[in-house]
């Protein structure tokens, strides 16, 4: 095992996780309750409590490359039972968002499935279950995914072959476009607000701490 | 028989039982009645009630503590009596209260304004009421003014035109013109900016000459010669002539009257510099009424609000830090 240089902690990373999640990571005293309750623990490379410890130690690469952050089911058992009232699931989510931004592949199958879902919404305005499953199979090459389920579903009319396209799908697509173009980036919004003299909103946010 | 005549009869009737009955007589100036102390039945003939009976006779009562005295009161004066009683500053069995219905009293300052230069108020030779009008006799003939234009502000918001808790009440009771005091005067002042409000006081108080007429006219100011304004121990005030000390005396006065001021307005009326000092007291009265549903001189069943407390104060919303 590697020796970890504690003095090499990435303080910016710690701060960013704290800001994005709004959680004070120093509150974690490593009782392990999150690990104890996590239903997905068996799919992880690191149990949640160790992930929390890695964040505390500022191990950015290790955290953002961890399988754990992709396999979390967001059931929030950890957050609900944390004796220090840390929203652990929120911390994991913040790490996942950061991993996406950093262009990490994550767990390929999981990320592909989610990407397919997002794309489906982008295209149709709603999620089209059959379509996104098809896209997932196509991209992962897992053509046998859930084919056993088809005979159970098709005759019951539970699979809509064609997507439900909503009238406002262009409006939805616009939301995605603006998002990709950075319209919702915090800095951009903040400076626009300042330009519009919405000082009330800016003032509320110029202070330190997490929203 | 007019109300005035009836009152004269009642005063005479009361006399053997009390050492003196306090009321009003015609003053040296036609618009201003003067206090009258009726000690013999003959004195009662000088008694005058009505539009010019402005001053509050309750102010004399604490001096008579220990002997029985009669007092003729308007509705507002009766509230002062009520508050003095509530605080134990006079004793109920030592005072005979004679009440009558009051239609409002004159504000002499308003007369000067209403005359609008038609004549110098000092030249007025006589004055009388005629229905809704005030008729002034001047060297250049009679001048008629509408009473609504020259009646005191406090009368416009009067809720108790009939003396409360009177031993003898002469005349028919009147309906109050309004159903609640909305403190519109305070609200209007507080609608000004903070800066303007302080400008206002700075300007007004600069006229103060520290004569303490406001205090002397106040029926609730029972400290008299022991007033802290004149004391070195404690030394709340210096002898400075600055606006700051003058203002601070008004703050002392208002704070000592918090929960006690009945709003009779004598402080303001007595002020030779015409500084509207009642406003501060009314700001506090409004708060006391909001918080404790207490109106001095009216809701006197329990102890005064600032001499008591409740374990839970439902109306007090403390700041949540």
């Amino acid at each position: 095992m590697e020796t970890i240089g504690l003095h090499e902690a990435d303080e910016d990373f710690i701060r960013e996780v704290e800001e994005r999640s709004g959680q004070a990571l120093s509150r974690c005293y490593q009782c392990g309750n999150c690990t104890a309750g996590c239903p997905m623990s068996f799919t992880y490379d690191y149990p949640v409590s160790r992930l929390m410890r890695f964040i505390q130690a500022g191990r950015k690469d290790l955290v953002l490359s961890a399988r754990t952050i992709w396999m979390c089911a967001s059931c929030e058992t950890c957050s609900e039972r944390c004796p220090n009232k840390i929203d652990v699931a929120g911390v994991v989510e913040a790490c996942r968002h950061m991993a996406c931004r950093a262009g990490k592949d994550g767990v390929y199958a999981v990320k592909t499935f989610w990407d397919a879902f997002v794309l489906s919404v982008n295209q149709h305005g709603r999620a089209h279950e059959a379509g996104l499953l098809a896209m997932y199979m196509f991209r992962t090459g897992r053509f046998w995914t859930d084919v056993d389920l088809a005979p159970k579903m098709l005759p019951k009319g539970k699979i809509a072959i064609l997507p439900h396209r909503i009238q406002g799908r262009r409006e939805v697509a616009e939301i995605f476009r603006r998002f990709r173009e950075g319209a919702a980036d915090e800095e951009a919004v903040r400076s626009r607000l300042a330009a519009e003299r919405r000082d009330d909103v800016v003032a509320a946010y110029s202070g330190e701490g997490c929203p | 028989m007019s109300i005035q005549e009836e009152l004269q009869a009642v005063i005479k009737e009361a006399l053997p039982d009390v050492s003196c009955v306090i009321g009003w007589r015609e003053g040296p100036e036609p618009l201003r009645a003067a206090p009258l102390f009726v000690r013999t039945p003959a004195d009662a003939d000088a008694f005058r009630s009505g539009y010019f009976a402005v001053n509050n006779p309750a102010v004399f009562l604490p001096e008579y503590k220990g002997g029985k005295v009669g007092v003729v009161v308007k509705g507002c004066d009766a509230r002062s009596v009520g508050q003095l009683l509530a605080e134990g500053l006079i004793r109920r069995e030592e005072v005979k209260v004679i009440g009558f219905p009051c239609n409002g009293v004159i504000d002499v300052d308003k007369v000067a304004v209403a005359l609008a230069g038609a004549c110098d108020p000092g030249e007025i030779q006589a004055a009388r009421e005629e229905g809704d009008e005030l008729v002034l006799t001047t060297p250049s003939g009679e001048i008629r003014l509408r009473k609504t234009a020259v009646t005191a502000d406090k009368c416009g918001r009067c809720l108790f035109p009939n003396a409360l808790d009177a031993d003898v009440f002469v005349g028919d009771t009147l309906e109050p013109a309004v159903s609640a005091d909305d403190y519109a005067d305070v609200a209007a002042f507080e609608a000004l900016s903070l800066e303007k409000r302080m400008d206002f006081w700075e300007q007004e108080m600069s006229r103060c000459v520290r004569c303490y007429a406001c205090r002397n006219a106040c029926p609730m100011c029972v400290c008299r010669e022991h007033c802290v304004a004149l004391s070195r121990d404690p030394r709340w005030l210096t002898q400075s002539d600055g606006v700051r000390d003058k203002m601070f005396f008004q703050i002392i006065h208002a704070s000592h009257l918090a929960g006690r001021c009945t709003g009779c307005g004598e402080c303001q009326r007595a002020c030779p510099a015409r500084i509207p000092v009642l406003l501060l007291k009314r700001a506090l009265s409004r708060r006391v009424e909001d918080l404790f549903a207490y109106r001095a001189g009216v809701d006197v069943a329990g102890p005064p609000p600032l001499l008591s407390f409740a374990l839970e104060e439902p109306k007090i919303k403390e700041r949540d830090w």
């Binding site: - | 305070v186 409000r197 302080m198 606006v243 918080l291």
Partner: protein
């Protein structure tokens, strides 16, 4: 000597000896860093505080006044803070009528164990006063200074 120009404002605190003064001590013992503006006047009980002390301070040069006592029901003298609560609440109504921003005066309850709370109260109140800026002063009589000079000689 004065408040540090551009850095501090004049803030006066009236604290009861048993709870809030102790709470401020507890904050000190805990090294809970606070703004330095506040100057504390120790009184035995919040019930000792004549509301006129507050008015005096505000009229004669304080930019803010903070009063703190024991929590209701916890008064060392059983009832003092109950009286204080009424008096302080009522006197607050005088400030807007004088043209003084009512936020320049606050009162609260801090127990001897609540060092953190005290720190929070001092921080928030100091920030509040700094947001309001220096208070306007009513002028004193110019002659007084002359008198003072005479007296000094």
């Amino acid at each position: 000597m004065s408040v540090l120009k551009g850095q501090e404002l004049r803030i006066i605190g009236f604290l009861c000896n048993w709870c809030s003064y102790g709470g401020a001590d507890t904050a000190g013992i805990g090294r809970f860093v606070q703004p330095t503006d506040l100057r504390v006047v120790r009184v035995p009980c919040s019930g000792r505080i004549n509301p006129l002390f507050i008015m005096k301070a505000l009229l004669y040069g304080a930019d803010g006044v903070l009063v703190s006592g024991c929590h209701p029901r916890d008064c060392h003298y059983a009832e003092g803070n109950f009286y204080a609560r009424r008096r302080l609440e009522v006197i607050k109504a005088l400030l807007p009528a004088l043209g003084i921003d009512p936020r320049r005066f606050e009162y609260t309850w801090v127990s001897a164990s609540e060092g953190r709370r005290w720190q929070h109260v001092v921080e928030s109140f100091t920030m509040q006063i700094h947001d309001l800026g220096p208070a306007r002063r009513l002028p004193d009589a110019p002659e007084l200074d002359v008198l003072k000079m005479v007296a000094a000689e």
